[in-house]
């Protein structure tokens, strides 16, 4: 082996030219177009702000993820996490790619059915499933992931009434060496609760126990945590087979893969620090392949990853409303995208890129949304070139959660458009107007008129 070369130590002053805790050098290009459609044109035709989803990115990221797993393990199934983005058009792209549906409420369940997903291909998760929801899921042979004992008892109770065997998995939580450890969902592995739940299910004799599910957390930056989860789940599978002679059909690793967004307070940008699909896939598949599960019993690996699949495909385009200097001298920028439309700005330092040419001189600015609320801050600090009123910008990687956790507040929610693979733009959700907002409202008779 060659001897390592010695370099004398040097001391340099921190400057903004290198990635450091102050920020990034602004050597990036403006985003003038998305998938061949000009930003200017999009805003002109569909208003400002507007959500844009790239079908091309969705499909290619999905295929990357699927390939990473399927070239390592023979039985892989993705299930689209509805809560991440349940726009019908979005869901259908994933269903076309072969994804099943993962839902966490009666509403999402019905939406999946409405989207044409075979009920056997719907995974029903979450702590809140009503009796009606459960009954429907049992009759439809959907996969029910049991979260707690009370739910298990309800299901056992329903079995007597519905002459159909529920298809269930249990959700398991465990210590995978990461912080925080999620223990609020499912049954704990480490204290034996999960094994207890399996025993109760098997002894009831009325339920088909076919899967194991873990969702170890969100934005997991260490692929190794999944390896530990895999080992523990495989252990439960092996014990079930040994005790009851029953092999589980699938192991669901949930989601939690990080997207390339930069978390608030992170030292390095997300693009450099988040593990690739390959790293997650390697950890997950090798944990099952190397487990004591017999080759003929190898379960299907199910993945419910949402954020990592859709985040990159989503953009929000907006316009600068005003420049302002605060009393303390802070430079601020007011834009027409507020936190009600960009819920994830509470977690991430979203990347904001001007849509028109700029010089490389930047200044630090605080970015406010348009809401008449003090909390409406999109970025505490962002190094941006000087922007004028009316300038347009693109906020990238916002595909996950923003179109489900958004809030109608003060004004209407804007359009969502999807750019297809032929660069054709489709409105997949219209903007709201006074009627859409007020149509559910009812005014008591005595308040119909405001004249006394």
């Amino acid at each position: 082996m060659e001897k390592k070369r010695f370099e004398r130590p040097i001391i340099t002053k921190l400057n903004t030219g290198m990635p450091n805790k102050i920020g990034l050098k602004t050597e990036y290009q403006p985003i003038r177009s998305i998938d061949g459609v000009a930003v200017k044109e999009l805003i002109e035709n569909y208003g400002s702000p507007v959500y844009v989803i790239s079908e091309n990115t969705m499909r290619s990221v999905y295929r990357q993820a699927y390939q990473a797993f399927s070239t390592r393990y023979p039985k892989i199934q993705f299930a689209w996490s509805y809560k991440t983005n349940y726009m019908d058009a979005v869901c259908k792209v994933y269903h076309q790619e072969g994804s099943w549906a993962e839902v966490v409420s009666g509403f999402e369940y019905d939406k999946a059915v409405r989207n044409g997903v075979p009920t056997e291909h719907i995974i029903f998760n979450g702590p809140d499933k009503s009796i009606e929801d459960l009954e429907k899921a049992i009759r439809n042979k959907s996969l029910i992931h049991i979260d707690h004992f009370d739910e298990l008892y309800t299901i056992i109770g329903l079995c007597d009434r519905i002459k159909e065997r529920p298809q269930v998995a249990i959700r398991v939580n465990m210590d995978t060496g990461i912080y925080p450890q999620w223990t609020r969902f499912g049954f704990n592995y480490d204290n034996g609760e999960a094994w207890d739940a399996i025993n109760r299910i098997m002894i009831s004799g009325k339920i088909d126990f076919i899967g194991l599910h873990a969702h170890i957390g969100t934005y997991i930056m260490s692929a190794n945590a999944y390896r530990i989860a895999g080992n523990k789940l495989a252990d439960l599978a092996v014990r079930t087979k040994a005790k009851y002679g029953k092999a589980v059909s699938y192991i669901d690793f949930g989601g939690g893969f990080a997207s390339k967004n930069t978390l608030k307070g992170a030292y390095l940008p997300g693009t450099d620090t988040t593990p690739s699909f390959d790293e997650y896939a390697d950890a997950i598949t090798s944990s099952i392949i190397n487990s004591e599960i017999k080759p003929e019993d190898m379960p299907t690996i199910v993945l419910e990853t949402g954020r990592a699949l859709i985040d990159d495909a989503g953009y929000i385009l907006g316009t600068v409303l005003a420049n302002k200097r605060m009393a303390d001298g802070t430079k601020t920028l007011i834009i027409d995208v507020g936190v009600n439309m960009l819920f994830t700005s509470f977690w991430y330092d979203h990347k904001i890129t001007p849509a028109q040419d700029f010089s490389h001189h930047t200044e630090s600015a605080k970015i406010y949304g348009p809401l008449c609320m003090n909390i409406d801050v999109i970025r505490e600090y962002a190094d941006l070139p000087p922007l004028k009123k009316g300038d347009q910008f693109v906020i990238s990687r916002i595909g996950a959660y923003n179109m489900t956790q958004w809030m109608q507040f003060i004004t209407y929610r804007p359009k969502i458009v999807m750019i297809d693979q032929q660069s054709k733009v489709h409105v997949i959700r219209n903007n709201e107007n006074l009627d859409t907002i007020t149509q559910l409202e009812k005014v008591p008779e005595h308040l119909k008129s405001i004249k006394k």
Partner: protein, 727 residues
Amino acid sequence: MRQKELIISFIKGLVHAYGQIFFTNQRFFSILLIIVSFFDLYAGLCGVLAVVSAHIVAYTFGFNRTHIQTGMYGFNALLVGLGLGIYFDMSLALVFIVVVSAILTLFIAVMLEGVLYKYGLPFLSIPFLLVVWVLNLAASEFTALGVSERGLYTLNELYASGGSNLVQFYQWWNNLVNNNWLTTYFISLGAIFFQYNVLAGILIAFGLLIYSRIAFSLSLLGYLAAFLFYKMIGSDISAVSYMYIGFNYILTAIALGGFFIIPKKTSYFWVVLLTPLVAILTISLNKIFYNFGISIYSLPFNIIVLLFLYVLKLRYKPATNLLPTVTQEFVPEKNLYSHLNYKNKFNLFDLNIPVQLPFFGRWTVSQGHEGEFTHQGEWRHAWDFVINDSQSKQFKNQGDFAEDYYCYGKSVLACADGYIEEILDGIDDNAIGEVNLDQNWGNTVVIRHHQQLFSKVSHLKKGSIKVSKGEYVKAGQIIAEVGNSGRSPFPHMHFQLQATPFIGSKTISYPIVSFLLYSGEGTQLKQYDYPKVNDVLEKPLSEKLLLNAFKWAPGRVLRFEDEHRKYAWEVKINYLNQTYLEDQDTGDKAYFQYNNDILIFTNYLGSQKNKLFYFYLACQKVSMYFFEGLTLKSTIRPNEMYGKWMMFFQDFIAPFYIWLKPQYSIVYQSERASFLLNKMDLRVFIKHRKSNRSQEHFIEINELGISDLHFNIGDKSYHLKAQTNHL
């Protein structure tokens, strides 16, 4: 009971010995030949005596009983017996000589079998030739034996046995067939049984026609070719010395045109080409043998057939025509139809060692057989596999590092069960774009699947090999990771099959048992096929439900019932390792081959009225894989779908054109399920465009196995239900 069986098998052996002379085991033809042999009573008796003596000795010595029963050991003795019976008058001394000569013939047959076996050649009638020459040469000293005068005075004999009517009939016959070449043809046929008369020839020709249209037409073809050749050289085939041995052309034509070689255009062509050679040999050998006062009998036939068969075996390139018959069914038509059926179902390979793709997921063939880069010459039957993304790129980022390539570090699987034969590890991965020509193959694993089948994967990642030399691996087991070592400018997996165990052995052409092929036309399941360059492939996973229904271990009994009777079909295996279903009541057999990929029925012996026959037709080709909308096609032998008359005409032209082509297709349908399918229907259609003999069958499968069978043939339909104690 044992004795009764022994007697039956003895009688069978006796009858088949007659048929064997024409390469058949068909009873009707054999009995006809027995009758012909008894045209001369004493000769007939001597023939029987010779076969019986040979067989008794063969039994007591414990020679191969199947050979005895099929007449393989008896037919040479038969010829010797017939020859002696014709030549000498009946006497006790003759009986004794027949018995000892038969025994000598048997010994020579067994010895020749031992010698020729390793060359894969038959001993034909060489034992007869050797013994008959010995006897001929010694005959002058057999003064106690009277030389028979029978056969010289045919009319006297006929008059003695059948009066003037028979004599008149005989003359009428002779006039009727007094066509020069046709008469000679019949006499040549009769001469095989030492009956130099037209009637015997006609009977044999008739038997030959009933036995096989191909053999019959070949006999005429061989004979006519010789006839014309004699014309051409200005000689006369009907000259006595040639006429008596005219059967040489006939037997050569049948043997090479359709019996030892699959009957095809080319085999017919070679019959026409070889017959003149037989004729020349006949003339020249006659000149030599004349000096010893003995006949050449079937010597030219033996020489040419053995020569040609042996020469064919020494072909270097894999043969595509003049293919030897692998499984001898003793009827040229059957050999042909079975061959076509095999070719269609197995691509000329049988199921013994199914080779699967050595990876998980979807890969692309970057270099196939006869590839443009390195898969040439002795290494032309190899594949290079890589992983492409949806933009058809093999790498992410700039592709400057091995780690950027999607296939790098991916698992390499054992393609079939076997022992690790050879391992080479410790060679560094190359930088992208560089090649290591010193250690060409890079890190490599060779697996021995069979004494003559090895698989090799190369360019593996250094230190990634997970198995050790001598270890037993199962198909699909992870053995290493893809790397970039050896002559590999960028990461890829080199996969090849070879017949010898060395790293660097030359490749052989061997198909992949099953793979999914993705293309613009959707997903196709390919079986016994060869991936081509740029194909996108995946190893399919077998479906548990199907495995459970069709994985028939020997001893398992499939029980069904309808309103009429119960059916019990037992899975059996014979000493040739052939697996078959046998109807426990009737003994009908349906032969099949199975591995975890596919079930293929290959042959059926028994009554075509039995439901087992319908089941056999319905399960011609059943894949153990499933995906929605999977449809498989196959062919069925025409002789299993059409009546004797239809086939009678088809048989004649079968080597050139098959117009009766029943098409078999099977469509998989399943109830949707989350993971484990619990119900599946297989719909089978058997169609032929030129007839309404369509059939439609349903096989219903549930967790317990096959639950229901529905057979619809024409307007008749049958429904068989599995009995509850099915398993």
